[in-house]
């Protein structure tokens, strides 16, 4: 009856630890999304590490309040986890998808009345404090920043103002109309024409 144990011991002796996955080859975010869609939490962890500062940066840009922004960013990542299988590589980049998500959630939070009121106070405060965040920027971010800044310079002042209020301010077209004292239809047109020119400046094609 110890024969079976002998078999096992043989196998133990012959056993070699599987080769670890070679490091250094970085999976794309899209590749990670595929793994996440299959329930891979390790891939999710990596995706988080690589995108969380961007997500939080964007959410905080809109929401201003740091603690609330972390809450919303958490919701964003939970949604990314839940909906990973719905990400479609053919439709675009994973980072765009995540940031689109993040922006939407941030805006949803702003629209919940109290958050919005608190934020408006904070925005006033922030704008008197520093014009821009003082976190050191990586070269990659700086390049993207410059690219967008250049594209933004290529559209009209009125379009730029409307787009900034909408995207970075999280204001609805109606709120923007009130802020600028122009009809909603005018804001809508500025947003659409401005986005069309930005799209061309940035070379976005579908």
């Amino acid at each position: 009856m110890h024969g079976q144990t002998a078999v096992m011991l043989e196998r133990v002796a012959a056993y070699s630890t599987p080769e670890p996955v070679p490091t250094g080859t970085e999976t794309t975010l899209e590749g990670l999304m595929e793994q996440i869609a299959r329930g891979d939490q390790g891939a999710f962890s990596e995706l988080y590490d690589r995108t969380a500062p961007r997500v939080l940066g964007l959410v905080e840009r809109v929401l201003v309040d740091h603690a609330q922004s972390e809450e919303v960013a958490q919701e964003v990542f939970l949604e990314v986890w839940k909906d990973a299988a719905r990400f479609d590589t053919a439709k675009g980049k994973a980072l765009s998808w995540i940031l689109t998500f993040a922006h939407r959630r941030a805006v949803d939070r702003v629209r919940s009345s109290q958050s919005g009121r608190d934020r408006d106070e904070r925005i006033g405060k922030r704008d008197t404090e520093t014009g821009y965040d003082n976190v050191s920027e990586t070269a990659e971010i700086r390049i993207e920043h410059e690219r967008v800044a250049r594209a933004m310079a290529g559209i009209s002042e009125l379009q730029r103002e409307a787009i900034s209020l909408a995207y970075y301010g999280g204001y609805s077209q109606r709120e923007i109309a009130e802020i600028l004292s122009v009809p909603v239809g005018t804001v809508k047109t500025r947003l659409r024409d401005g986005m069309a020119r930005l799209r061309d400046e940035l070379g976005v094609t579908s």
Binding site: A52, G57, R61, A166, V204
Partner: protein, 294 residues
């Protein structure tokens, strides 16, 4: 504030505002209708969404707190994933346009009462036969980095309820399952927790262990079912022979895991055999699995 509809030249004019999230739920629904009706509007919406995300890329990143990651990892460990939206091949011939109409690549908007896409999503989930079972099925996938689950160790009951079927030596009662789940969470929570995976049958077997606790657990996806009167039995194996470490049964719809009884000595391997009900004192069949920590 002007709500006058006559102000709106048409819902498709909302493409810019929509991509910038500057619309109300109702306006978003109107625009989504317009986009479903026109390929041009749909393309413009995609391009504007991409353009907006580039605005997002230009924002200075903010480093999140370490706590945020721990919270997120604990949450996802306990959160089932949604199935993919109706796959194109499985799509019933009914509405060829509808798969496109709910852009699969676009994150859903917040659940709003006026949101038609919500109903569509639910509809498509129902149409997918696997979807009823899959939220459970998804959850059982075992996380690779063990440490993250440590944060979720407190939520042991959820862990069990979520579809990972634990098997203690005396399997069956909620208490013993909870104890086994606690033991598993304990092992994973150790700073020296380690993991080893290898293919087994159609699935993967994973051994996790902690030297400081001298305990281990084996997790198997797709462990074959056994005929009546048979159980799986785990063993610690070292130069002195095999020590019985508890019996367990395969989970029917989930990953099977078993926390081994007894102490894991340094250098011991873990084996699994098929044994008669009640287990054996020594293995009586060839092992179906042998794993040796490095």
């Amino acid at each position: 504030m002007t709500d006058d509809k006559s102000f709106d030249p048409g819902a498709e004019e909302l493409s810019g505002a929509y991509a910038l999230d500057a619309v109300t739920g109702e306006e978003a629904a109107d625009f989504e209708k317009a986009r479903r009706a026109s390929a041009d509007v749909d393309r413009e919406a995609d391009e504007f969404t991409e353009t907006a995300s580039l605005l997002g890329l230009a924002v200075t990143p903010v480093v999140p707190s370490a706590r945020m990651k721990a919270d997120v990892m604990a949450q996802i460990a306990l959160t089932p994933q949604r199935p993919a939206e109706s796959s194109r091949t499985a799509e019933p011939a009914g509405e060829p346009g509808s798969a496109r109409a709910t852009p699969a690549g676009t994150p859903p908007r917040a659940e709003r009462a006026t949101e038609p896409a919500t109903a569509e999503r639910e509809g498509s989930a129902e149409a997918t036969p696997a979807s009823a079972a899959s939220p459970r099925g998804q959850l059982v996938r075992f996380p690779r980095p063990l440490r993250y689950l440590a944060a979720a160790a407190a939520a042991v009951a959820l862990f069990v309820g979520g579809g990972i079927v634990g098997n203690a030596l005396t399997s069956g009662t909620a208490t013993s399952t909870n104890q086994a789940a606690s033991a598993l969470a304990d092992i994973m929570a150790q700073a020296d927790a380690q993991k080893l995976s290898q293919p087994m049958g159609d699935g993967t077997a994973t051994l996790i262990w902690s030297g400081s606790l001298a305990r281990s657990a084996v997790l198997v996806e797709g462990l074959p079912a056994l005929s009546d009167g048979k159980v799986y039995e785990a063993w610690y194996i070292d130069a002195t022979g095999a020590r019985a470490a508890g019996t367990f049964r395969p989970a029917t719809d989930a990953a099977t895991w078993h926390v081994l009884d007894g102490t894991m000595t340094a250098g011991a391997a873990v084996g699994v055999t098929v044994e008669p009900e009640g287990g054996s004192a020594q293995p009586t069949t060839d092992p179906v699995l042998v794993m040796k920590p490095a």
